[in-house]
Symmetry: C2
């Protein structure tokens, strides 16, 4: 897992919305989807529950969210 992965993950967690996270990060939405998917594969877990109004953290996602990296944003 690289720093950029964590930055994207955090923005999605913060907004609860992949589209808005993408806009705020300056990416298109499909890239953020793909990045989150790859991160989930790498960690062999599910970080977000997907529903029609956005996404919410799973318990695994909440664990990652509190990792003490990169908070200098």
């Amino acid at each position: 897992m690289e720093l950029q992965d964590l930055k994207v993950f955090r923005k999605v967690a913060e907004t609860g919305n992949i589209s808005r996270a993408a806009k705020e990060l300056g990416y298109v939405q499909s890239n953020v989807t793909a990045r989150i998917r790859r991160l989930e594969e790498e960690l062999a877990t599910t970080l977000f529950h997907r529903h029609s109004r956005g996404v919410t953290l799973t318990s695994a996602g909440r664990s990652l969210e509190i990792m003490p990296f990169g908070s200098s944003t």
Copy 2:
């Protein structure tokens, strides 16, 4: 700068030798050369002095060396 860049940088700094760092990291030597070069370009600075017996940190390199990331190795 990503975590992997820092990991490679640190191993080179630790050993003072790109070839040995590469071996310890499980890469070929030319890749480590290229990675360090890319990192230097990204940071727009020179991290190592090159000489015929290896490399030594520049003052910029010493600054990066003490960054408080990734020390969990």
